[in-house]
């Protein structure tokens, strides 16, 4: 199956990437080739196979409920593009 220009615009929007019209064509072609590679998976018979999302069998480790973190806001906000009075600033959010 090939990836259409509409698909590219759709995923680009979901992923918050802006793509020009030229780029849409370019990526549609690229992604179609990758999808063709990926679709070789259809050669494998996987009925009744349980999906495996982690390479290990180990169960999740749970931690004790303890506060271990201290305030590092000033250090963290040194690298922030825009912050004021301890808040990160973004263009106005419209709900």
């Amino acid at each position: 199956m090939s990836v259409t220009e509409k698909d590219v615009r759709y995923v680009a929007n979901l992923a918050r990437l802006s793509v020009s019209d030229d780029e849409v064509k370019f990526y549609a072609d690229n992604l179609s080739r990758i999808v063709a590679l990926v679709e070789q998976m259809n050669d494998a018979q996987t009925d009744n196979v349980e999906p495996l999302s982690h390479p290990q069998d180990a169960p999740l480790r749970l931690r004790e409920d303890r506060v271990t973190e201290v305030d590092q806001r000033d250090d963290f906000q040194k690298v922030a593009p825009a912050a004021s009075d301890g808040l990160y600033l973004v263009p106005k959010v419209i709900e």
């Binding site: 979901l14 004790e64 409920d65 806001r73 004021s84 301890g86 990160y88 973004v90 106005k92 419209i94």
Partner: protein
């Protein structure tokens, strides 16, 4: 046409852990912005989540309390969307394999019991907060709340009215507080709900298109928001229009719901198992251990109250509606020498009405159980009458003082000295000779008038039984 309302609720309940669900930051409310946002909470590159054991324990508690299936295996998944208060660009939640499934809870509306199905309850992290006040073109982001553990409790679309939705929400609220898994503080956002509302012609099987009303944070608003939304949908359908599936926000100030622009394209969340968190496996022993730690639940408590205190079902139900009321009741009974019936009457009557009228929570009541018990004692030992008791209660409510102090300061002590009462009776009979004669002539109705005159003359303090007795003796 007659319409039927169909409501399902998604309740988001913050869990009362000390630290966040996936980091060691404090969950305390009201700190300086971003002072409780660790490297994990602000999603610095390279950081990883580590799950909080107590959050799991609390979710299991909830599941057991609603008679649900506790899944020994559950899986954390990522819900992907962009929003400035969501630092990772995904929320860690549970999707296909939640920790709790298939529970139930019974509610009572208009004296009718009804069981509401609970589809699932899953663990997830809360987002941060967007602050708009004080900014013109910008929004400030505070991530202190980001990563606070939540359980999202999803009901079946079993409710048919706003009243049922409120009853269900109240019941869940009481339950999580009973279980001590949440403070349920709605002002602070610890307990909030989204309502899925649709309507359909009465008798129709198929569900109508629903609208999701987001972030309702009070019982009053749930009712108003749902009623408003139902009216809106009826208007649309009766005008021949179609309801659009969308997310709407309830505006309490305007009492209306409006479409949320920001959620328009957020429907493709691309859930997938979080590769940073292997499946969570809870042992049977762990679940058993949690079961043994469960406190007495509302239903059991109601049964016990009926048995132990010989209360009727209505009183017992009212007294066990919240953990606080039940505790208040039991402390009051203790303080008044075990008079459960009178305690129940006062709590469900006078106290409830004062709380309601003044919009005060029980925890903040100026009259505490010990004080109320003291008041009941004074009534029982005939220091005051039941009627004067209400006057005393009013002062106790206003000043936070004890019954004894009020009685003392206002001289409300009941007159039980038969000599003193006799004197008042004599005075009343002397100045109402006509009425006395009428009674003697067989007009028994006048008796009540004479009692009233005596009580008035004693400023209500005379012991009514003694007044009756003396009057009857004098008039015979």
């Amino acid at each position: 046409m007659e319409w039927e309302t169909v409501i399902g609720l998604e309740i988001h309940c913050q869990l009362a852990t000390d630290s966040k669900i996936f980091s060691g930051s404090s969950t305390a409310f009201g700190s300086e912005p971003n002072s409780q946002a660790s490297a994990v909470d602000i999603a610095l590159p390279g950081v990883l989540p580590v799950m909080n054991l107590d959050a799991a324990r609390m979710a299991v508690k909830f599941g057991l309390a609603v008679d649900a299936t506790i899944n020994e295996r559950s899986v954390f998944a990522r819900k992907n969307y962009f929003y400035p208060d969501l630092p990772k660009g995904y929320q860690i939640s549970q999707f296909e394999e939640p920790i709790v499934t298939e529970g139930r809870l019974s509610i009572t509306v208009d004296d009718k019991d009804k069981v509401i199905g609970i589809t699932r309850a899953h663990l997830e992290e809360d987002a941060g907060k967007s602050l708009h006040e004080g900014f013109v073109d910008e929004t400030g982001i505070d991530l202190n709340r980001a990563g606070t553990p939540l359980i999202e409790i999803v009901s079946e679309p079993d409710m048919r009215s706003a009243a049922e939705a409120v009853a269900y929400m109240r019941k869940i609220h009481a339950l999580v507080r009973y279980l001590e898994i949440s403070d349920g503080n709605m002002q602070e956002g610890s307990f909030r709900c989204d309502a899925n509302v649709s309507i359909r012609p009465k008798g129709e099987k198929e569900l109508g298109t629903r609208a999701e009303i987001k972030n309702i944070n009070s019982f009053r608003f749930v009712e108003k928001a749902i009623n408003h939304e139902v009216e809106r949908q009826i208007d649309i359908l009766e005008d021949g229009g179609e309801v659009v599936q969308e997310t709407r926000l309830y505006d309490a100030n305007k009492d209306e719901t409006r479409s949320m622009r920001s959620k328009e394209d957020a429907h493709d969340y691309r859930y997938f198992p979080d590769p940073d968190l292997p499946p969570m496996i809870l042992s049977k022993e762990f679940i058993e251990e949690v079961k043994e730690s469960l406190p007495e639940l509302p239903e059991a408590k109601r049964e016990r109250f009926m048995e132990q205190y010989e209360l009727d079902e209505k009183d017992a139900a009212a007294l066990t509606a919240t953990r606080e009321t039940a505790a208040y009741f039991e402390k009051t009974v203790e303080a008044c020498n075990g008079d459960a019936k009178t305690s129940a009457n006062w709590i469900n009557g006078e106290l409830a009405s004062y709380l309601n009228r003044n919009n005060v929570e029980l925890e903040d009541s100026p009259v505490n159980p010990k004080a109320l018990g003291g008041l009941i004692e004074r009534i029982n030992d005939k220091t005051i009458s039941n009627k004067i008791g209400k006057t005393v209660f009013e002062s106790m409510w206003k000043n936070g003082s004890s019954a004894d102090d009020v009685i003392e300061q206002q001289g409300l002590k009941q007159i039980t000295d038969s000599g003193a009462i006799e004197k008042i009776v004599d005075d009343v009979l002397a100045s109402n000779a006509d009425q006395a004669q009428q009674y003697r002539d067989g007009n028994e109705k006048v008796f009540g008038f004479l009692v009233g005159q005596v009580m008035q003359a004693s400023k209500g303090k005379a012991n009514p039984a003694q007044v009756n007795e003396l009057l009857k003796a004098k008039l015979s």
